[in-house]
Protein backbone atom coordinates (compact mmCIF):
# COMPACT_ATOMS: atom_id res chain seq x y z
CA UNK A 1 0.00 0.00 0.00
CA UNK A 2 2.74 2.40 0.88
CA UNK A 3 5.33 1.69 -1.78
CA UNK A 4 8.22 4.08 -1.95
CA UNK A 5 7.23 5.29 -5.37
CA UNK A 6 3.73 6.14 -4.25
CA UNK A 7 4.99 8.03 -1.25
CA UNK A 8 7.39 10.01 -3.38
CA UNK A 9 4.64 10.91 -5.82
CA UNK A 10 2.40 12.04 -3.02
CA UNK A 11 5.16 14.23 -1.68
CA UNK A 12 5.87 15.70 -5.11
CA UNK A 13 2.20 16.44 -5.58
CA UNK A 14 1.98 18.31 -2.32
CA UNK A 15 5.16 20.22 -2.85
CA UNK A 16 4.05 20.96 -6.38
CA UNK A 17 0.99 22.80 -5.06
CA UNK A 18 3.09 25.40 -3.30
CA UNK A 19 3.15 28.30 -3.51
CA UNK A 20 -0.50 29.07 -4.32
CA UNK A 21 -1.07 31.02 -7.50
CA UNK A 22 -1.77 34.59 -6.42
CA UNK A 23 -1.20 36.57 -9.59
CA UNK A 24 -3.85 39.20 -10.25
CA UNK A 25 -4.39 37.68 -13.65
CA UNK A 26 -5.59 34.46 -12.14
CA UNK A 27 -7.44 35.94 -9.18
CA UNK A 28 -9.46 38.32 -11.36
CA UNK A 29 -10.52 35.27 -13.31
CA UNK A 30 -12.00 33.77 -10.14
CA UNK A 31 -14.29 36.62 -9.27
CA UNK A 32 -17.21 35.40 -11.32
CA UNK A 33 -17.06 31.72 -10.30
CA UNK A 34 -16.67 32.85 -6.68
CA UNK A 35 -19.90 34.84 -6.82
CA UNK A 36 -21.53 32.04 -8.73
CA UNK A 37 -20.67 29.54 -6.00
CA UNK A 38 -22.25 31.77 -3.37
CA UNK A 39 -25.32 32.23 -5.52
CA UNK A 40 -25.67 28.54 -6.28
CA UNK A 41 -25.34 27.57 -2.64
CA UNK A 42 -27.81 30.20 -1.45
CA UNK A 43 -30.44 29.60 -4.11
CA UNK A 44 -30.01 25.85 -3.73
CA UNK A 45 -30.44 26.01 0.02
CA UNK A 46 -33.48 28.26 -0.37
CA UNK A 47 -35.12 25.75 -2.69
CA UNK A 48 -34.11 22.97 -0.30
CA UNK A 49 -35.90 24.73 2.57
CA UNK A 50 -38.92 25.25 0.31
CA UNK A 51 -39.05 21.50 -0.29
CA UNK A 52 -37.87 20.30 3.12
CA UNK A 53 -40.15 22.43 5.27
CA UNK A 54 -43.58 21.39 3.97
CA UNK A 55 -42.59 17.79 3.31
CA UNK A 56 -40.79 17.56 6.63
CA UNK A 57 -43.94 18.75 8.39
CA UNK A 58 -46.13 16.30 6.49
CA UNK A 59 -43.58 13.61 7.33
CA UNK A 60 -43.80 14.30 11.06
CA UNK A 61 -45.82 11.47 12.54
CA UNK A 62 -46.90 13.38 15.64
CA UNK A 63 -48.14 16.23 13.45
CA UNK A 64 -50.10 14.05 11.07
CA UNK A 65 -51.34 10.89 12.71
CA UNK A 66 -49.85 9.75 15.97
CA UNK A 67 -49.81 10.81 19.57
CA UNK A 68 -51.99 12.90 21.74
CA UNK A 69 -52.41 15.78 19.28
CA UNK A 70 -54.24 13.57 16.81
CA UNK A 71 -56.02 11.10 19.04
CA UNK A 72 -59.40 12.79 19.28
CA UNK A 73 -59.33 13.98 15.69
CA UNK A 74 -58.20 10.83 13.91
CA UNK A 75 -59.52 7.93 15.99
CA UNK A 76 -62.98 6.90 14.99
CA UNK A 77 -62.79 8.63 11.61
CA UNK A 78 -61.55 6.21 8.95
CA UNK A 79 -61.50 8.85 6.21
CA UNK A 80 -59.28 11.20 8.21
CA UNK A 81 -57.14 8.27 9.26
CA UNK A 82 -56.54 7.22 5.67
CA UNK A 83 -55.97 10.75 4.43
CA UNK A 84 -53.43 11.59 7.12
CA UNK A 85 -51.50 8.35 6.74
CA UNK A 86 -51.33 8.66 2.97
CA UNK A 87 -50.08 12.25 3.27
CA UNK A 88 -47.47 11.08 5.72
CA UNK A 89 -46.22 8.23 3.57
CA UNK A 90 -46.28 10.37 0.44
CA UNK A 91 -44.06 12.98 2.12
CA UNK A 92 -41.72 10.36 3.54
CA UNK A 93 -41.45 8.70 0.14
CA UNK A 94 -40.67 11.92 -1.69
CA UNK A 95 -38.01 12.87 0.84
CA UNK A 96 -36.39 9.43 0.65
CA UNK A 97 -36.31 9.57 -3.10
CA UNK A 98 -34.80 13.06 -3.16
CA UNK A 99 -32.00 12.28 -0.78
CA UNK A 100 -31.22 8.73 -1.85
CA UNK A 101 -29.82 10.09 -5.13
CA UNK A 102 -26.57 12.01 -4.42
CA UNK A 103 -26.41 15.66 -5.44
CA UNK A 104 -23.65 14.72 -7.87
CA UNK A 105 -25.98 12.42 -9.76
CA UNK A 106 -28.81 14.95 -9.65
CA UNK A 107 -26.43 17.54 -11.11
CA UNK A 108 -25.45 15.14 -13.84
CA UNK A 109 -29.07 14.62 -14.78
CA UNK A 110 -29.97 18.30 -14.60
CA UNK A 111 -26.98 19.23 -16.75
CA UNK A 112 -28.35 16.83 -19.35
CA UNK A 113 -31.83 18.26 -18.96
CA UNK A 114 -31.21 22.02 -18.86
CA UNK A 115 -27.63 22.42 -20.12
CA UNK A 116 -24.37 23.56 -18.55
CA UNK A 117 -24.16 26.41 -16.04
CA UNK A 118 -25.22 27.29 -12.51
CA UNK A 119 -28.91 26.50 -12.97
CA UNK A 120 -28.54 22.69 -12.88
CA UNK A 121 -26.30 23.16 -9.82
CA UNK A 122 -29.02 25.09 -8.03
CA UNK A 123 -31.59 22.43 -8.88
CA UNK A 124 -29.32 19.59 -7.80
CA UNK A 125 -28.61 21.14 -4.41
CA UNK A 126 -32.24 22.15 -3.96
CA UNK A 127 -33.58 18.65 -4.58
CA UNK A 128 -30.94 16.57 -2.81
CA UNK A 129 -30.68 18.86 0.19
CA UNK A 130 -34.46 19.30 0.27
CA UNK A 131 -34.64 15.57 0.94
CA UNK A 132 -32.05 15.74 3.70
CA UNK A 133 -33.48 18.88 5.31
CA UNK A 134 -37.00 17.43 5.26
CA UNK A 135 -35.91 14.28 7.03
CA UNK A 136 -33.97 16.14 9.70
CA UNK A 137 -36.74 18.75 10.11
CA UNK A 138 -39.25 16.01 10.80
CA UNK A 139 -36.92 14.54 13.41
CA UNK A 140 -36.43 17.95 15.01
CA UNK A 141 -40.21 18.47 15.01
CA UNK A 142 -40.81 15.13 16.69
CA UNK A 143 -38.36 15.86 19.46
CA UNK A 144 -40.31 18.71 21.07
CA UNK A 145 -42.01 18.89 24.43
CA UNK A 146 -45.63 18.06 23.67
CA UNK A 147 -47.17 19.43 26.87
CA UNK A 148 -47.32 23.06 25.66
CA UNK A 149 -48.73 21.81 22.35
CA UNK A 150 -51.47 19.86 24.08
CA UNK A 151 -52.34 23.00 26.05
CA UNK A 152 -52.51 25.11 22.88
CA UNK A 153 -54.67 22.57 21.15
CA UNK A 154 -57.04 22.41 24.10
CA UNK A 155 -57.84 26.11 23.64
CA UNK A 156 -59.42 25.19 20.31
CA UNK A 157 -56.41 26.06 18.14
CA UNK A 158 -56.01 24.32 14.79
CA UNK A 159 -52.90 22.41 13.78
CA UNK A 160 -51.18 25.29 12.03
CA UNK A 161 -51.79 27.59 14.98
CA UNK A 162 -50.37 24.96 17.32
CA UNK A 163 -47.41 24.69 14.98
CA UNK A 164 -46.58 28.40 14.85
CA UNK A 165 -47.28 29.13 18.52
CA UNK A 166 -45.82 26.06 20.14
CA UNK A 167 -43.88 23.89 17.76
CA UNK A 168 -41.73 26.31 15.81
CA UNK A 169 -40.67 28.49 18.78
CA UNK A 170 -39.40 25.38 20.55
CA UNK A 171 -37.31 24.11 17.64
CA UNK A 172 -36.24 27.40 16.08
CA UNK A 173 -32.56 27.35 17.18
CA UNK A 174 -32.06 23.77 15.98
CA UNK A 175 -34.01 24.46 12.84
CA UNK A 176 -31.94 27.49 11.88
CA UNK A 177 -28.61 26.03 12.84
CA UNK A 178 -29.16 22.84 10.85
CA UNK A 179 -30.31 24.85 7.84
CA UNK A 180 -27.19 27.00 8.00
CA UNK A 181 -25.07 23.87 8.28
CA UNK A 182 -26.67 22.62 5.08
CA UNK A 183 -25.79 25.92 3.44
CA UNK A 184 -22.19 25.32 4.44
CA UNK A 185 -22.39 21.88 2.87
CA UNK A 186 -23.85 23.46 -0.26
CA UNK A 187 -20.84 25.74 -0.59
CA UNK A 188 -18.61 22.70 -0.47
CA UNK A 189 -20.84 20.70 -2.79
CA UNK A 190 -20.65 23.41 -5.41
CA UNK A 191 -17.00 22.41 -5.88
CA UNK A 192 -18.00 18.88 -6.73
CA UNK A 193 -20.91 19.98 -8.91
CA UNK A 194 -18.57 22.12 -11.00
CA UNK A 195 -16.81 18.95 -12.07
CA UNK A 196 -19.87 17.84 -14.04
CA UNK A 197 -20.31 21.28 -15.53
CA UNK A 198 -22.75 22.76 -13.07
CA UNK A 199 -20.94 26.05 -12.61
CA UNK A 200 -19.13 27.70 -9.71
CA UNK A 201 -15.59 27.38 -8.42
CA UNK A 202 -15.67 23.66 -9.07
CA UNK A 203 -15.56 24.24 -12.77
CA UNK A 204 -12.39 26.26 -12.30
CA UNK A 205 -10.87 23.49 -10.13
CA UNK A 206 -11.63 21.04 -12.90
CA UNK A 207 -9.94 23.25 -15.49
CA UNK A 208 -6.82 23.85 -13.38
CA UNK A 209 -6.56 20.15 -12.57
CA UNK A 210 -6.76 19.22 -16.22
CA UNK A 211 -3.95 21.62 -16.97
CA UNK A 212 -1.85 20.17 -14.13
CA UNK A 213 -1.70 23.64 -12.64
CA UNK A 214 -1.66 22.65 -9.00
CA UNK A 215 -0.69 26.10 -7.77
CA UNK A 216 -4.05 27.28 -8.98
CA UNK A 217 -5.82 24.31 -7.41
CA UNK A 218 -4.34 25.23 -4.05
CA UNK A 219 -5.56 28.81 -4.39
CA UNK A 220 -9.04 27.53 -5.16
CA UNK A 221 -9.04 25.18 -2.19
CA UNK A 222 -7.98 28.02 0.10
CA UNK A 223 -10.83 30.17 -1.20
CA UNK A 224 -13.24 27.30 -0.60
CA UNK A 225 -11.94 26.91 2.93
CA UNK A 226 -12.36 30.61 3.63
CA UNK A 227 -15.93 30.51 2.34
CA UNK A 228 -16.87 27.59 4.54
CA UNK A 229 -15.26 29.30 7.53
CA UNK A 230 -17.21 32.47 6.76
CA UNK A 231 -20.51 30.58 6.63
CA UNK A 232 -19.63 28.90 9.90
CA UNK A 233 -18.98 32.29 11.44
CA UNK A 234 -22.28 33.70 10.21
CA UNK A 235 -24.17 30.70 11.53
CA UNK A 236 -22.56 31.08 14.96
CA UNK A 237 -23.63 34.74 15.01
CA UNK A 238 -27.20 33.91 14.04
CA UNK A 239 -27.44 31.19 16.68
CA UNK A 240 -26.21 33.64 19.29
CA UNK A 241 -29.08 36.02 18.41
CA UNK A 242 -31.65 33.23 18.76
Amino acid sequence: MFEIEGRENLWKFFIGMFPPELSWNFLSLLFRPFLETIQISMMGTLIAVGIGFPFGLLGTRTFMVGGVLNEADVKGSPSRFALRWSGYFMARGVLSLFRSIPEFVWAFMFVRAVGLGPFPGVLAIGVAYGGMLGKVYSEIFEGVNYRPLEALQSTGANKMQVFFYGWLPQVLPNFVSYTLYRWECAVRASAILGLVGAGGLGQQIEISMRMFNFHEVLTLLIILFLMVAAVDYISAKVRAIL
Partner: protein, 267 residues
Protein backbone atom coordinates in the same frame (compact mmCIF):
# COMPACT_ATOMS: atom_id res chain seq x y z
CA UNK B 1 -78.79 20.78 30.92
CA UNK B 2 -75.76 19.35 32.62
CA UNK B 3 -72.35 20.77 31.82
CA UNK B 4 -70.86 17.30 31.83
CA UNK B 5 -72.60 14.01 31.55
CA UNK B 6 -70.43 10.90 31.52
CA UNK B 7 -71.87 7.47 31.04
CA UNK B 8 -69.74 4.39 31.60
CA UNK B 9 -66.55 6.12 30.43
CA UNK B 10 -63.54 3.81 30.14
CA UNK B 11 -60.04 4.62 28.97
CA UNK B 12 -57.53 1.88 28.27
CA UNK B 13 -54.06 2.83 27.03
CA UNK B 14 -52.07 0.90 24.47
CA UNK B 15 -50.33 -1.24 27.07
CA UNK B 16 -53.69 -2.47 28.29
CA UNK B 17 -53.35 -0.23 31.26
CA UNK B 18 -56.80 0.71 32.48
CA UNK B 19 -56.79 4.35 33.56
CA UNK B 20 -60.49 5.03 33.96
CA UNK B 21 -63.01 2.26 34.43
CA UNK B 22 -66.73 2.60 33.77
CA UNK B 23 -67.08 6.09 35.18
CA UNK B 24 -70.46 7.80 35.50
CA UNK B 25 -70.53 11.46 36.40
CA UNK B 26 -72.79 14.48 36.15
CA UNK B 27 -71.63 18.02 36.74
CA UNK B 28 -74.10 20.90 36.59
CA UNK B 29 -73.32 24.29 35.10
CA UNK B 30 -71.57 26.63 37.50
CA UNK B 31 -70.70 23.82 39.90
CA UNK B 32 -67.33 23.67 41.65
CA UNK B 33 -65.99 20.17 42.08
CA UNK B 34 -62.71 18.89 43.50
CA UNK B 35 -61.27 15.49 42.59
CA UNK B 36 -58.90 13.81 44.98
CA UNK B 37 -57.19 10.44 45.07
CA UNK B 38 -53.78 8.79 44.97
CA UNK B 39 -51.42 9.25 42.05
CA UNK B 40 -52.29 7.04 39.14
CA UNK B 41 -55.97 6.95 40.04
CA UNK B 42 -56.84 8.24 36.57
CA UNK B 43 -57.67 11.83 37.43
CA UNK B 44 -55.42 13.38 34.80
CA UNK B 45 -56.63 10.94 32.15
CA UNK B 46 -60.20 11.84 33.06
CA UNK B 47 -59.42 15.54 32.59
CA UNK B 48 -57.79 14.89 29.26
CA UNK B 49 -61.02 13.27 28.14
CA UNK B 50 -63.09 16.09 29.60
CA UNK B 51 -61.21 18.64 27.48
CA UNK B 52 -61.47 16.46 24.37
CA UNK B 53 -57.77 15.70 24.07
CA UNK B 54 -58.09 11.96 24.58
CA UNK B 55 -60.90 9.88 23.19
CA UNK B 56 -62.57 7.45 25.59
CA UNK B 57 -62.07 3.80 24.70
CA UNK B 58 -65.76 3.26 25.40
CA UNK B 59 -68.69 5.06 26.94
CA UNK B 60 -70.55 8.25 26.14
CA UNK B 61 -69.68 11.83 26.97
CA UNK B 62 -71.96 14.84 26.64
CA UNK B 63 -70.74 18.38 27.09
CA UNK B 64 -73.54 20.90 27.48
CA UNK B 65 -75.91 18.39 25.93
CA UNK B 66 -73.74 17.70 22.91
CA UNK B 67 -72.25 14.27 22.44
CA UNK B 68 -68.55 14.82 21.76
CA UNK B 69 -66.84 11.44 21.40
CA UNK B 70 -67.24 11.35 17.65
CA UNK B 71 -66.59 14.99 16.86
CA UNK B 72 -63.74 15.87 14.51
CA UNK B 73 -62.15 18.89 12.87
CA UNK B 74 -63.89 22.21 13.23
CA UNK B 75 -66.69 21.00 15.49
CA UNK B 76 -64.20 19.41 17.84
CA UNK B 77 -62.18 22.63 18.04
CA UNK B 78 -65.36 24.57 18.73
CA UNK B 79 -66.08 22.37 21.77
CA UNK B 80 -62.47 22.63 22.96
CA UNK B 81 -62.64 26.41 22.79
CA UNK B 82 -65.37 26.35 25.42
CA UNK B 83 -63.21 24.39 27.86
CA UNK B 84 -60.16 26.01 29.46
CA UNK B 85 -57.48 23.85 31.05
CA UNK B 86 -54.80 24.72 33.57
CA UNK B 87 -52.05 22.15 33.87
CA UNK B 88 -49.74 21.03 36.61
CA UNK B 89 -46.61 22.10 34.72
CA UNK B 90 -48.19 25.27 33.29
CA UNK B 91 -47.59 23.90 29.76
CA UNK B 92 -46.59 27.31 28.47
CA UNK B 93 -44.26 27.77 25.52
CA UNK B 94 -41.04 28.75 27.31
CA UNK B 95 -39.35 30.65 24.49
CA UNK B 96 -42.32 32.87 23.70
CA UNK B 97 -43.02 36.16 25.39
CA UNK B 98 -45.66 36.16 28.11
CA UNK B 99 -48.05 38.17 25.94
CA UNK B 100 -48.09 35.50 23.22
CA UNK B 101 -48.71 32.75 25.74
CA UNK B 102 -51.60 34.74 27.17
CA UNK B 103 -53.08 35.66 23.80
CA UNK B 104 -52.88 32.05 22.67
CA UNK B 105 -56.12 31.73 24.62
CA UNK B 106 -57.65 33.51 21.61
CA UNK B 107 -56.47 30.98 19.02
CA UNK B 108 -59.82 29.21 18.91
CA UNK B 109 -61.43 32.48 17.78
CA UNK B 110 -58.66 33.75 15.51
CA UNK B 111 -57.99 32.72 11.95
CA UNK B 112 -54.58 31.22 11.27
CA UNK B 113 -53.57 34.40 9.47
CA UNK B 114 -54.61 36.65 12.32
CA UNK B 115 -52.70 34.54 14.85
CA UNK B 116 -49.57 34.71 12.69
CA UNK B 117 -49.81 38.49 12.49
CA UNK B 118 -50.22 38.70 16.25
CA UNK B 119 -47.07 36.67 16.68
CA UNK B 120 -45.15 39.37 14.85
CA UNK B 121 -46.99 42.34 16.34
CA UNK B 122 -49.39 41.56 19.21
CA UNK B 123 -52.84 42.66 18.11
CA UNK B 124 -54.66 42.54 21.41
CA UNK B 125 -52.33 43.95 24.04
CA UNK B 126 -55.17 45.43 26.12
CA UNK B 127 -56.86 42.08 26.53
CA UNK B 128 -53.63 40.41 27.62
CA UNK B 129 -52.83 43.27 29.96
CA UNK B 130 -56.25 43.08 31.59
CA UNK B 131 -55.92 39.34 32.21
CA UNK B 132 -52.37 39.65 33.54
CA UNK B 133 -53.31 42.49 35.86
CA UNK B 134 -56.13 40.40 37.25
CA UNK B 135 -53.67 37.67 38.25
CA UNK B 136 -51.26 40.28 39.53
CA UNK B 137 -48.35 40.17 37.10
CA UNK B 138 -49.18 42.91 34.58
CA UNK B 139 -45.59 44.12 34.66
CA UNK B 140 -44.35 40.85 33.13
CA UNK B 141 -46.25 41.17 29.87
CA UNK B 142 -43.20 41.51 27.63
CA UNK B 143 -40.89 39.17 29.55
CA UNK B 144 -39.81 35.88 28.11
CA UNK B 145 -41.90 33.19 29.75
CA UNK B 146 -39.00 31.01 30.87
CA UNK B 147 -37.59 33.88 32.87
CA UNK B 148 -40.55 33.77 35.26
CA UNK B 149 -40.77 31.77 38.49
CA UNK B 150 -43.01 28.71 38.79
CA UNK B 151 -45.74 30.63 40.60
CA UNK B 152 -45.67 33.45 38.05
CA UNK B 153 -45.84 30.96 35.18
CA UNK B 154 -48.90 29.38 36.74
CA UNK B 155 -50.46 32.85 36.82
CA UNK B 156 -49.66 33.29 33.13
CA UNK B 157 -51.46 30.00 32.49
CA UNK B 158 -54.47 31.31 34.42
CA UNK B 159 -54.35 34.53 32.39
CA UNK B 160 -54.41 32.44 29.22
CA UNK B 161 -57.59 30.76 30.41
CA UNK B 162 -59.08 34.17 31.25
CA UNK B 163 -58.41 35.31 27.69
CA UNK B 164 -59.91 32.11 26.36
CA UNK B 165 -62.98 32.88 28.47
CA UNK B 166 -64.40 29.33 28.44
CA UNK B 167 -67.56 27.98 30.03
CA UNK B 168 -65.64 25.38 32.00
CA UNK B 169 -62.29 25.59 33.74
CA UNK B 170 -60.45 22.33 34.31
CA UNK B 171 -57.52 22.72 36.68
CA UNK B 172 -55.31 19.64 36.79
CA UNK B 173 -53.16 19.79 39.92
CA UNK B 174 -52.71 23.54 39.45
CA UNK B 175 -50.72 23.98 42.66
CA UNK B 176 -48.56 20.90 43.00
CA UNK B 177 -45.58 22.47 41.27
CA UNK B 178 -46.05 25.77 43.10
CA UNK B 179 -44.61 26.90 46.42
CA UNK B 180 -46.97 25.57 49.17
CA UNK B 181 -47.46 29.07 50.59
CA UNK B 182 -48.81 30.19 47.20
CA UNK B 183 -51.02 27.16 46.74
CA UNK B 184 -54.08 28.38 48.58
CA UNK B 185 -53.88 31.82 46.97
CA UNK B 186 -53.96 30.26 43.51
CA UNK B 187 -56.82 27.94 44.42
CA UNK B 188 -58.85 30.81 45.84
CA UNK B 189 -58.07 32.93 42.79
CA UNK B 190 -59.52 30.21 40.57
CA UNK B 191 -62.57 29.87 42.81
CA UNK B 192 -63.08 33.62 42.67
CA UNK B 193 -62.81 33.70 38.88
CA UNK B 194 -65.29 30.86 38.49
CA UNK B 195 -67.72 32.54 40.87
CA UNK B 196 -67.50 35.98 39.31
CA UNK B 197 -67.94 34.75 35.76
CA UNK B 198 -70.27 31.82 36.51
CA UNK B 199 -67.94 29.20 35.12
CA UNK B 200 -67.99 25.54 35.99
CA UNK B 201 -64.80 24.61 37.82
CA UNK B 202 -63.30 21.14 38.13
CA UNK B 203 -60.03 20.76 39.99
CA UNK B 204 -57.71 17.82 40.62
CA UNK B 205 -55.95 18.25 43.92
CA UNK B 206 -53.18 16.45 45.72
CA UNK B 207 -54.00 18.35 48.87
CA UNK B 208 -57.07 16.98 50.63
CA UNK B 209 -57.11 20.00 52.93
CA UNK B 210 -57.49 22.46 50.07
CA UNK B 211 -60.22 20.35 48.49
CA UNK B 212 -62.22 20.15 51.70
CA UNK B 213 -61.73 23.83 52.49
CA UNK B 214 -62.74 25.34 49.17
CA UNK B 215 -65.14 23.02 47.36
CA UNK B 216 -68.79 22.22 48.04
CA UNK B 217 -68.47 18.88 46.25
CA UNK B 218 -65.53 16.49 46.51
CA UNK B 219 -65.10 13.30 44.50
CA UNK B 220 -62.59 10.66 45.61
CA UNK B 221 -61.20 8.54 42.80
CA UNK B 222 -59.27 5.35 43.23
CA UNK B 223 -58.00 3.01 40.51
CA UNK B 224 -60.11 4.69 37.86
CA UNK B 225 -63.42 4.49 39.70
CA UNK B 226 -65.07 6.99 42.05
CA UNK B 227 -65.09 5.88 45.66
CA UNK B 228 -67.27 8.69 46.98
CA UNK B 229 -68.95 11.87 45.77
CA UNK B 230 -69.93 13.98 48.76
CA UNK B 231 -69.98 17.46 50.27
CA UNK B 232 -66.88 18.04 52.41
CA UNK B 233 -68.61 17.81 55.79
CA UNK B 234 -69.79 14.27 54.99
CA UNK B 235 -66.26 13.07 54.21
CA UNK B 236 -64.91 11.24 57.23
CA UNK B 237 -61.30 10.40 58.02
CA UNK B 238 -62.33 6.82 57.58
CA UNK B 239 -63.32 7.46 53.93
CA UNK B 240 -60.07 9.26 53.26
CA UNK B 241 -58.11 6.36 54.71
CA UNK B 242 -59.93 4.03 52.36
CA UNK B 243 -59.16 6.32 49.44
CA UNK B 244 -55.43 6.35 50.04
CA UNK B 245 -55.09 3.01 51.87
CA UNK B 246 -52.72 0.41 50.55
CA UNK B 247 -51.94 2.39 47.47
CA UNK B 248 -48.75 1.84 45.57
CA UNK B 249 -45.33 2.31 47.08
CA UNK B 250 -43.78 5.70 46.27
CA UNK B 251 -41.56 4.15 43.63
CA UNK B 252 -44.35 2.52 41.72
CA UNK B 253 -46.42 5.62 42.20
CA UNK B 254 -43.91 7.72 40.37
CA UNK B 255 -43.78 5.29 37.51
CA UNK B 256 -47.55 5.19 37.37
CA UNK B 257 -47.86 8.94 37.41
CA UNK B 258 -45.39 9.22 34.58
CA UNK B 259 -47.30 6.76 32.47
CA UNK B 260 -50.57 8.35 33.29
CA UNK B 261 -49.41 11.83 32.47
CA UNK B 262 -48.76 10.39 29.09
CA UNK B 263 -45.10 10.59 28.11
CA UNK B 264 -45.72 7.28 26.45
CA UNK B 265 -48.91 8.36 24.82
CA UNK B 266 -47.34 11.24 22.97
CA UNK B 267 -45.26 9.16 20.59
Amino acid sequence: MAQYHLENITKIFARRQVAVKGLDLKVQKGERVALIGPSGAGKTTLFRMLNCTLRPTSGRLWIDGEEVVNLHGKKLREVRRRIGTIYQQHNLVPRLKVIHNVLSGQLGRWSTMRSLISLVRPTNTDLAMKALSLVGIGDKIFSRTDELSGGQQQRVAIARVLVQNPEVILADEPVSSVDPSLASSIVSLLIEISQNTHKTLLMNLHSVDLALAYFPRVIGIRKGVPLFDLPPDKISDHLLEDLYAGHLSPNQQEKFAEEESGNLVYQ
